[in-house]
């Protein structure tokens, strides 16, 4: 079939949708800005709640989607609206005419250095969830000092539920990610005290609560209900974290060897860029606006343009994959209808 289907973004949503479309007999085009496929998931080590290796998920998707037309290191330069289709100009000089686009531009990790009081980029022992996954994968991060790891802290809701950080939304997956990473750190450093500073624990998904109970019971991870207010560095270079222990109603402070900031999900600049080019509206949470947030999350308000994954809001991996499949089916039906 010669219908051009352009998938913008080669993360797991784009790859999964491409796989499904290939199975349906189409030959989708994936446009990926970076030099590799898999998006954020490719940077991750293990996925909650079953500790599935992220690499397995990504490599399976990549090998299944290999028959698609994939442009790496490619961005969209501009989009022209034609009569009933779009002319997409790519940065590599290729232009594509299509009437179907699937936006899978995903999210960006909140820039934790914007929360100046947490000292990301200033203190030696403050890292983000993404940095920690990178360390899990490569073991390469000078901020993580294996030899002296007596206390580790996790700060939930960094750049989420925070109007000062211009994101009042919940990023949905950080709670469970913190629980997962806390368990992994406790496994690596059984003698270390591991604290999670949380405001609410949102264990909404399948087996998340079990994971949380296990973190408490089997790993002795201490959950402190209170948002970290400020971080400082003491004379020996360790970080001092201050928060209110809201359950005691008392200020609490603790000295840590590593502080992990659970940076949240915000709408990626690529999403907004694409939205500007195709004139797609943004929702009040800053993510792309679907035709309907309950009944029709995959349809954009524009004909022939569809969404899948975290470009419309924070999503888990299974949610993203399910949306990608649904989007592929939706595209197929859209083509058949014409």
């Amino acid at each position: 079939m010669k219908e051009n289907i352009v998938i913008i973004g080669g993360g797991i949503a784009g790859l999964e949708a491409a796989c499904q479309l290939l199975d349906l007999g189409y030959k989708p085009i994936i446009i990926e800005k970076s030099d590799h496929l898999g998006g954020h998931v490719a940077d991750w080590n293990c996925l909650f709640p079953d500790m599935t290796p992220a690499g397995d998920i990504v490599s399976a998707l990549i090998s299944k989607a290999a028959d698609a037309n994939i442009f790496l290191n490619t961005e969209i330069s501009f989009v022209n609206k034609l009569q009933d289709s779009y002319n997409i100009m790519l940065s590599n000089g290729i232009s594509i005419i299509t009437r179907i686009m699937l936006v899978t531009t995903g999210f960006s990790v909140f820039d934790a250095s914007k929360k100046e009081e947490y000292g990301y980029g200033v203190y030696d022992q403050v890292i983000t969830n993404k940095d920690l996954e990178h360390w899990f994968n490569t073991g390469d991060d000078r901020r993580v000092n294996d030899s002296a790891m007596n206390a580790i802290g996790f700060v939930h809701c960094v750049g989420s539920r925070d109007e000062k950080a211009r994101n009042s939304q919940c990023s949905k997956v950080c709670c469970i990610t913190a629980v997962k990473q806390a368990i992994e750190m406790k496994q690596k450093f059984p003698e270390a005290m591991v604290y999670c500073f949380y405001m609410d624990l949102r264990m909404f998904g399948k087996k998340y609560e079990d994971f949380y109970i296990s973190a408490q019971r089997d790993y002795g991870i201490r959950f402190i209900r209170g948002r970290v207010s400020e971080v400082s560095e003491n004379i020996d270079g360790r970080v001092i974290v201050k928060a209110e222990d809201t359950l005691s109603g008392k200020p609490v402070k603790v000295t840590l060897d590593l502080l992990v900031l659970m940076a949240g999900m915000v709408c990626s600049q690529d999403s907004t860029k694409v939205a500007n080019m195709i004139k797609l509206p943004l929702d009040s949470d800053g993510f792309l606006k679907s035709a309907d947030n309950v009944a029709d999350i995959i349809d954009s308000p524009k004909e022939g343009i569809f969404y899948a994954g975290a470009c419309t809001g924070p999503k888990t991996v299974p949610e993203t994959l399910a949306e990608a499949r649904a989007a592929a089916l939706k595209i197929h039906l859209y083509i058949m209808k014409k």
Binding site: S113, E116, V122, Y123, E233, N234, I235, I240
Partner: protein, 356 residues
């Protein structure tokens, strides 16, 4: 500590500071605490930097302390401030410079409030007119006096007689910088370097040869906290705040503390005496305290002014060990002599804190 990380943040918070023609307003309380400071500021600006600085005897308190102590309503403090602006307008200036951090914060807060609620500004204009038949233009720039010294820190460094270096060891002096809370905590963009890592004093210290200490409680209030100090029943909290800061900076063995606020140097200076007398604890070397200087006093010192001329004898914590370290010469006999050579009399010596 990743210094480049801080630099990145500093770069985000730079503010425009006009280089001449300032309307200067003094602080209510500084002249009693450390009278040399404001005098030296004017002397450095006018005499050394040859800048046009105007001040008028008609200006009053900004109302900040009363406002923060909840004794006057916001409209009142706004009208007082409007009058100050009117004085500036009448004098033909549009760059407003405050000596006091509380005032600086107060001005910024009021200007920002008027920006959000223009009807409030209109009302204040009416009230000012009713009260004293004055009109005003809003200042084009509002700066704190330390912003100016920061701006000209390198010029001062160029003319400095002394560097902030320990002449016995050759090491840079370890300096704690303490910024007044109302400088940037309310409006981070209005302070040099922002609220988290204000650069205004760091810049002076670095430029004059010292090393800045970053200690855990650096963000903490000096302890004055109007409502804490002014109500005697709460005064213990004021003291406890200061105590917490000193406990936190103690392991770094700072040579002195640099401040840019009227209350901070005073409380950090005097509370060291109270802590010593009640807890028996001193923080400097050999039973001395840690000297607390204002940026004007420090600028004057590096420029080579006589310590006694700039009023350092009014400090509770003895500054002599610091002067010795920097290598500034002084005559101990002159310490308690007034400008007119009259003897100022000796203060009673404290029991615990070593003062001379």
């Amino acid at each position: 500590m990743i210094y480049q990380g801080k630099q990145k943040i500093w770069a985000d918070y730079q503010k425009e500071i006009p280089d001449n023609h300032w309307f200067y307003v003094r602080s209510c309380i500084r002249q009693n605490f450390f009278p040399g400071a404001e005098k030296m500021f004017l002397e450095i600006c006018r005499g050394l930097l040859k800048k046009d600085i105007f001040e008028t005897e008609h200006h009053t308190t900004c109302g900040g302390i009363a406002y923060h102590c909840d004794t006057i309503p916001q409209e009142t403090v706004m009208t007082i401030v409007a009058r100050q602006f009117a004085l500036m307008t009448e004098a033909g200036y549009e760059n407003y410079v405050a000596s006091c951090i509380t005032s600086f914060g107060n001005y910024i807060e009021i200007l920002e409030t008027w920006k959000e609620f223009p009807e409030l500004e209109t009302r204040i204009r009416e009230m000012l007119w009713k009260a004293c038949k004055r009109e005003f233009n809003k200042p084009k720039y509002v700066a704190h006096a330390s912003d100016l010294i920061y701006k000209y820190r390198n010029e001062i460094a160029a003319r400095a007689k002394f560097r902030l270096v320990n002449r016995f060891t050759g090491e840079p002096l370890k300096v704690v910088e303490h910024i007044g809370c109302h400088y940037a905590k309310m409006f981070p963009a209005r302070g040099v370097g922002g609220a988290e890592y204000p650069y205004v004093l760091c810049g002076m210290i670095e430029s004059w040869g010292g090393n800045v200490i970053d200690y855990p409680e650096r963000r903490h209030c000096c302890g004055y906290g109007f409502r804490q100090y002014h109500v005697k029943a709460n005064r213990g909290y004021s003291l406890s705040n200061t105590y917490k800061k000193f406990e936190s900076m103690e392991p770094y063995h700072p040579d002195f503390i640099l401040t840019n606020c009227p209350g901070c140097p005073y409380f950090m200076d005097r509370w060291q005496y109270v802590i010593a007398e009640t807890e028996g604890k001193t923080y400097g070397e050999n039973g001395y305290g840690i000297p607390v200087l204002t940026y004007e006093e420090l600028a004057s010192l590096v420029l080579g002014y006589n310590p006694w001329d700039i009023g350092l004898q009014l400090h509770q914590v003895a500054v002599e060990p610091l002067l010795d370290k920097i290598g500034i010469e002084y005559d101990p006999k002159e310490k308690y002599k007034g400008l007119n050579e009259k003897d100022l009399m000796r203060p009673e010596l404290p029991g615990v804190l070593r003062c001379c």
